[in-house]
């Protein structure tokens, strides 16, 4: 049985890193995309979200990890094709699994926010709307 690898450790100082610096372009993902979640690290908010959606696990959030933008911790929002940086005042734990859970929670909060760009897009182009908005 193998161990869970830490891709950040692997890449640091490796020939891959040198090659990336040489070509000015990243090779592959910035984190281990294959790292499956440790459900012991679920946050209360995520438990509530899972229950609300009628799922039994994190579902699509299993593919969400804490990444980095310009060296700062960030989570990628596929709905806007952009990174959402983790607020500076948020303390991040050392463990990648716990960081990933925080990234998932942040992403849901961002996507549920009134200020998410999809809200404006939906108002302009959405086809299916609740009765109150018709």
């Amino acid at each position: 049985m193998g161990n869970v690898t830490d891709i950040t450790t692997q890449a640091k100082g490796s020939s891959t890193e040198e090659r990336e610096q040489e070509i000015g372009q990243h090779i592959g993902y910035r984190y281990d995309v294959n790292l499956v979640p440790d459900y012991d690290k679920l946050t209360p908010f995520l438990k509530k979200y899972i229950e609300f959606m009628g799922w039994k696990d994190l579902n699509w959030l299993e593919d969400v990890h804490l990444g980095y933008e310009e060296g700062k911790p960030a989570v990628f929002d596929r709905n806007i094709n952009g990174w959402v940086q983790v607020p500076d005042d948020l303390e991040l734990p050392e463990s990648q699994q716990e960081r990933d859970m925080i990234a998932r929670e942040l992403l849901i909060k961002f996507q549920s926010s009134e200020t998410h760009p999809m809200v404006e897009l939906n108002a302009e182009y959405g086809k299916v709307r609740p009765p109150s908005s018709e």
Binding site: G2, E17, F52, E94, V119, S133
Partner: protein, 276 residues
């Protein structure tokens, strides 16, 4: 905040996308759905009879019932019509009593869908989130370009399962055909039965687990070692859908990308500068 020195030097290049931090407060809200999500109640049930109606009419009625707050919708007599249950971007329980044709449940983002029969080609294409469970068999390109969620077929599936998948989990209770996982970029595929030739051909990333025999691996698909975390995760996932690995989860064969075909840096530095 904790230091992220281990990856600091990895980010010399500005990645695409616009930082959204300035628009967003992490403690802003405890909402669980986007403001434009339709509020449905899982305990509010309704049946829709698809007999003698076009797929468009059935899909429009599903949307209309959701707007009325119905959270559990059962479609009777789907009659293997094509493109049923597509484009549902909301939480919902959707049950099909029968079989679907081509492109069933594509573009799903949130619903839990159960299909008591079988499905044709390209079921759940571009699925974003939610769960789809098919009780019988599925056609080719099952879960093509899936981005997220769980897609489960308890029977056998055709060829090119999970072609171009970019996330999510595909579970096949039986066998899968040739070129499954072709050009897979991310996500996980669990096949409890046998896999056809060229499994994982040209895969960039992601993982394929196989319980039965593999007719042959594709280009750049290689064997890898399972971790305990993965074993626990697979057990949990299979339990959820009432499935079991034939010889135990520990004995699944794990296939991943050998990364020999990665060509992110195919241009030489000087050539790249000229292009840019």
């Amino acid at each position: 905040m904790a230091e992220l020195t281990s990856t600091g030097s990895m980010h010399a290049e500005k990645l695409t996308g616009r930082t959204q931090q300035i628009f967003f407060s992490a403690v802003e809200s405890d909402r669980l759905a986007s403001p434009h999500a339709i509020d449905v109640d899982f305990d509010k049930l309704v049946d829709i009879d698809a007999e003698g109606r076009s797929a468009r009419e059935v899909n429009q009625e599903i949307a209309a019932r959701m707007r009325e707050g119905y959270g559990t919708i059962t479609v009777l007599n789907p009659g293997a019509k094509h493109s049923l249950g597509v484009g549902i971007l909301n939480r919902l329980r959707l049950i099909f009593k029968g079989s679907l044709g081509y492109f069933g449940c594509g573009l799903s983002d949130g619903p839990n869908i159960q299909i008591s029969g079988r499905v044709g080609w390209s079921c759940a294409e571009n699925m974003m989130s939610g769960t789809i469970v098919i009780q019988k068999n599925a056609g080719s390109t099952f879960g093509a370009a899936i981005r997220g969620g769980d897609l489960v077929c308890k029977g056998d599936v055709g060829s090119r399962t999970g072609i171009d998948m970019k996330g999510g989990t595909i579970i096949v209770g039986g066998r899968t055909g040739a070129f499954s996982g072709f050009m897979m970029q991310r996500g996980r595929m669990i096949v409890l039965g046998d896999a056809g030739p060229n499994l994982g051909d040209s895969m960039y990333d992601g993982i394929i687990y196989v319980g039965g025999k593999i007719a042959g691996l594709g280009v750049d698909a290689v064997d890898a070692e399972m971790t305990e975390l993965e074993c626990n995760w697979i057990k949990r996932k299979l339990d959820q859908y009432g499935l079991e690995a034939p010889n135990g989860v520990e004995n699944l064969r794990k296939i991943e990308s050998g990364k020999q075909l990665w060509n992110y840096d195919s241009l030489e530095p000087t050539e790249k500068k000229l292009v840019l």
